[in-house]
Symmetry: C2
Subunit: 316 residues, 2 copies
């Protein structure tokens, strides 16, 4: 039984073969979406380069909403459905997951070394876990255990309202909002959000400057202190703390919170010194409860593929 | 097999007997918490008045966080645990649920006539459902189907941050916040929240007035228009629309959203004319998705008891 697993992100698509719950070593390939007409084209190209192996099962993770086996890649408009995946791969068992759901299915298959501790906490082994994705987009998934299996939820959490708490937040939300005036969580916590925070910080100081999220995050690691970059990362940490705390109250993840995605990995070295714990726990009389939630960052950039493999090998 | 079911709220405790998945007719009694020392005292009083029936199973719903079979009544500080319930009832199977989880377990047992339509939508029969409780407290529960059973989640959603979106919201949040400056969703969407909104509206107009939530909601039904009351209900509707919309994006309840609790029932006649739909759906480029979520209000004030009975009779 050979499985095909794929992770269709906003910029790249990764494809690999799965053997049981593991991604087969050296089978992973990365494709730039901009070079291809759509997901079927990418899957066909992958299979052709691997000598057209016989595929019995396929699981694809998509950075966009999935319903009834069909989904749409949010940042590119590609449409994909399970029938289409079955047709191009020849698989008889096919599953399309939201990419954060795939990250949820990966949690049981992560090496301990692939996790960085952000906030210490109890992490009860059978309790609910929360995945927060911070990258090109922002989203969540909740992982519940039931019996021998998992129930992994889908969400569009990044499109919920940004919870402003003071005049600075309001000014920032207005700066980041779209033409309709609506500012979402994703508008500030995505990679694009870091760029907007930085543009707002430098604009407010009378020295407007444009930098990419990659350059801002790289400058944050520099020994030479750039005050606008530090202030950008400080505001990001404050917003992330408040929003992650709200998400913890919505989902009660006593099994832990797991940050995934490129922005999460890049921000992780800064979160402690910029005061994440205090912002996460500032919930009035419910602040003591917030100490029950551990936060870790998932280092493995290919976890969504592992999650797809884990999904295909799940208990019946 | 006779089951005991109870719903321990902030003000009252209701107790009844269950026969299979139904609450036994005429078995329900209501107790004022203020007249009793604690939940064991109430359960003992109920059983004594019913001739000490032999109880095999008991399920108790509590308005407060429950972990590992133990919970604390948020607004009164009472501690209750499953061992204590077993001791006073003699039941060998005992379950303590959060009250919103009990409401979630009730959904499959509600008569269609016990629901009022607030916002029309598809309501897919096997999809996720979201319960939003609006009363003395504010909280949520999410109901997932898996196989023949249900997975019903617990939350402390009312204690998440109030998502302010303009200067009026900030002013209101500061007015409603506790001494620590933190304003939660519950601070404005509970019965106490309606009182705070009304005090803020009348104070801002230079005519500060104190009214109870019951009086404000009753005045809202009056033909004689009271502008401060109408403005209070309008602000409540706007905040509820935004927050319920955010919750829909966190949980994707394609099976419907169900409002429960005394404030939900009292607000229901006002929600359409005060523009709930527009506030619920104002989510930028995700606004079209919001049309997929139906909202209904649960009329049955005893639904939590039905949920406890449903829990005891659930498939193995």
């Amino acid at each position: 039984m050979t499985g095909l697993v794929a992770d269709i992100g906003g910029t790249n698509t990764r494809v690999a073969l799965a053997e049981g719950p593991r991604v087969a070593a050296d089978s992973m390939m990365r494709f730039h979406n901009a070079d291809h007409d759509g997901p079927s084209d990418i899957l066909a190209a992958y299979l052709a380069r691997h000598g057209a192996p016989r595929i019995t099962q396929a699981c694809v993770a998509l950075a966009g909403p999935v319903r009834d086996g069909s989904g749409r890649l949010t940042n590119r408009g590609w449409i994909i459905n399970e029938q289409g995946i079955a047709k191009v791969t020849g698989a008889t068992q096919v599953k399309l997951l939201n990419d954060l759901q795939a990250q949820g299915h990966a949690l049981d298959h992560l090496a301990r070394a692939g996790l960085i501790e952000v906030l210490d906490g109890p992490e009860l082994p059978r309790a609910t876990r929360l995945v927060i994705g911070l990258g090109t987009g922002v989203n969540t998934s909740v992982v519940h255990r039931h019996g021998r299996g998992l129930l992994v939820t889908a969400a569009e959490a990044g499109h919920a309202s940004l919870p402003a708490s003071d005049e600075d937040d309001l000014s920032l939300a207005r700066f980041a909002a779209g033409a309709d005036g609506f500012a979402s969580i994703e508008d500030l916590l995505s990679g694009r959000g870091i760029e907007k925070i930085h543009a707002w910080v430098t604009g407010r100081a009378g020295m407007p400057r444009q930098m990419t999220a990659g350059d801002i995050l790289a400058a944050g690691n520099d020994d030479a202190d750039d005050p606008a970059v530090t202030e950008t990362l400080r505001i990001y940490t404050r917003l992330l703390g408040r929003i992650a705390g709200d998400l913890a109250l919505h989902h009660l993840p006593f099994g832990g919170i797991f940050l995934v995605g490129g922005v999460a990995r890049a921000m992780t070295p800064h979160l402690a010194r910029l005061g994440l714990a205090a912002h996460f726990r500032a919930k009035g009389r419910f602040s003591p409860l917030m100490r029950e939630f551990a936060i870790r960052t998932v280092v493995d950039d290919y976890a969504a593929l592992s999650g797809c493999a884990g999904y295909l090998a799940r208990p019946a």
